[in-house]
């Protein structure tokens, strides 16, 4: 337990709050990097997922590709891209965007698929155009599952951003690797605790958001595990 005390000391050490290696700066880097990655992935995955969900076409392909992407080890992708584009932040951005796409894509199209077909037919029957159906019916009703997808994507990116420090001077993972190099266990452990706290805090925030985005008049029954239902089992076929 002494190890934890030294890690807490490390976290509270004023020396770790100044300069380019300051803890708040590293947390900020970690968050900004993760946010940008999830945004890029969303810009690709959400429109695509909505298209698949609305038309019902290309679902098999989407399931297979995202299942395949899940089997690819991040570290391999990260180091490979880093060899291609050089050391720096580009490789983590590329590798982690690829990782973040499957859960968001799955969240987007399962959100549409989970909607009662009668609701969509009713919207069509009252004269809504396809675009209106998407905007006013499918998007709001599919939101909880989409947020679920964003939740898994964000958590995955936050976790893997730690690994990204292996190829770039980036985020909280830096403490893990620099501590490993200098055999400073307090630094490694302190850094690890910070990453874990950050991940748990985001998990909590997302759990709250997910509860709030259920449109009024819809029962709040949510499946918070879209990853599993749309994950590899079917995908591996």
């Amino acid at each position: 337990m002494n190890l934890f005390a030294s890690a807490i000391d490390w976290i509270l050490d004023p020396a770790n709050y100044v300069g380019l290696n300051a803890i708040p700066l590293r947390i900020g880097q970690h968050l900004v990097f993760s946010l940008v990655t999830v945004l890029i992935a969303s810009a690709i995955a959400i429109p695509l997922g909505y298209l698949i969900g609305h038309t019902g076409r290309g679902r098999g392909l989407a399931v297979t590709t995202s299942g395949g992407l899940r089997a690819i080890p991040t570290l391999g992708l990260l180091t490979l891209v880093a060899l291609w584009v050089g050391i720096g932040v580009v490789a983590p951005y590329v590798a982690l965007t690829v990782l973040a796409i499957p859960p968001i894509l799955a969240g987007a199209y399962t959100g549409f698929e989970a909607i009662d077909r009668r609701t969509v037919d009713a919207a069509r029957a009252v004269g809504m155009s396809e675009l209106q159906i998407v905007r006013k019916v499918e998007v709001p009703l599919g939101l909880p599952l989409l947020i679920g997808g964003l939740r898994s994507a964000t958590l995955q990116v936050i976790a893997t951003a730690t690994l990204a420090a292996y190829v770039a001077d980036l985020g909280l993972g830096r403490y893990l690797f620099s501590g490993l190099k200098t055999r400073d266990y307090a630094e490694m452990l302190g850094g690890s605790i910070l990453v874990i706290l950050l991940a748990l805090a985001l998990e909590g925030i997302f759990a709250l958001i997910q509860r709030f985005v259920v449109p009024r008049g819809v029962s709040g029954r949510l499946d918070t595990a879209p990853t599993l239902r749309t994950g590899s089992p079917t995908a591996a076929r």
């Binding site: 890690a7 899940r70 990453v195 874990i196």
Partner: protein, 225 residues
């Protein structure tokens, strides 16, 4: 390609390391998750505690967990045991929910009929509920197997050897072929484990085979397995 041909021995050795690291978590998590999942379904209080705990555990990033474990259980930082335990914990976190959902999916009528026929709670669980929840458990185990095989590679950055070592070594020495070989081998191993689970499912749950055989998608599944 020349690198691959010249280093087949190394790739094979790392593959074996990888199997040694990934097999125990896959087996252990199932053994632990079944009773925990049962407990989660049985009582309202234990359900909340176990499922929330599993959810939080699943949110903990893998690399930091591997760093924290030595401080908790007293192993050395470079010990492969940390990787095995960390991945077992992830597997449990995922499977507990699956087991509880799977048991939930068993029809209440079936459960009552079993009791009416004289099954004790114990034998009803093993002979009726667990087999009927089987397909759900299998689906969960396939996710666990694939993600475990992929996550084992993370240990390579702290020096626990696996196929992931091909990534770190290839990166440091600038050998692209080594990284690609590692990727192919890892994905291949994941598919192998997945196939083995599907096969085990067919042997252990022959009644599901008849259902899948009736579907037109069956040939695709067979070729993939």
């Amino acid at each position: 390609m020349t690198w691959v041909l010249a280093n087949l021995g190394l790739i094979w050795a790392r593959t074996l390391d990888h199997v040694v690291l990934s097999l125990p978590p896959i087996v252990l998590c199932f053994v632990v998750a079944v009773p925990l999942g049962w407990l989660a379904r049985r009582y309202r209080l234990s359900r909340g505690i176990i499922l929330t705990g599993a959810g939080l555990l699943y949110a903990v990033p893998s690399l930091p967990l591997i760093f924290v474990l030595p401080a908790v259980i007293g192993t050395s930082l470079l010990s492969p045991v940390n990787v095995i335990i960390a991945l077992t914990l992830y597997g449990i976190a995922l499977m507990v929910r699956v087991v509880s959902d799977g048991l939930d999916s068993v029809d209440a009528d079936v459960r009552q009929s079993a009791s009416a026929m004289g099954y004790s709670t114990w034998s009803r669980f093993w002979q009726v509920e667990l087999p009927l929840a089987g397909p759900v458990l299998l689906a969960g185990m396939r996710v666990v197997a694939v993600s475990t095989v992929s996550l084992v590679t993370v240990g390579a950055v702290i020096g626990v050897q696996s196929l992931g070592s091909l990534f770190t070594d290839g990166f440091q020495r600038g050998i692209q072929a080594e990284i690609i070989a590692g990727l192919v081998a890892t994905v291949g191993l994941a598919l192998l484990f997945d196939g083995a689970l599907v096969l085990a499912g067919r042997v252990l749950m022959p009644w599901t085979r008849r259902i899948t055989a009736a579907k037109p998608s069956a040939p695709v599944e067979v070729s993939a397995a």
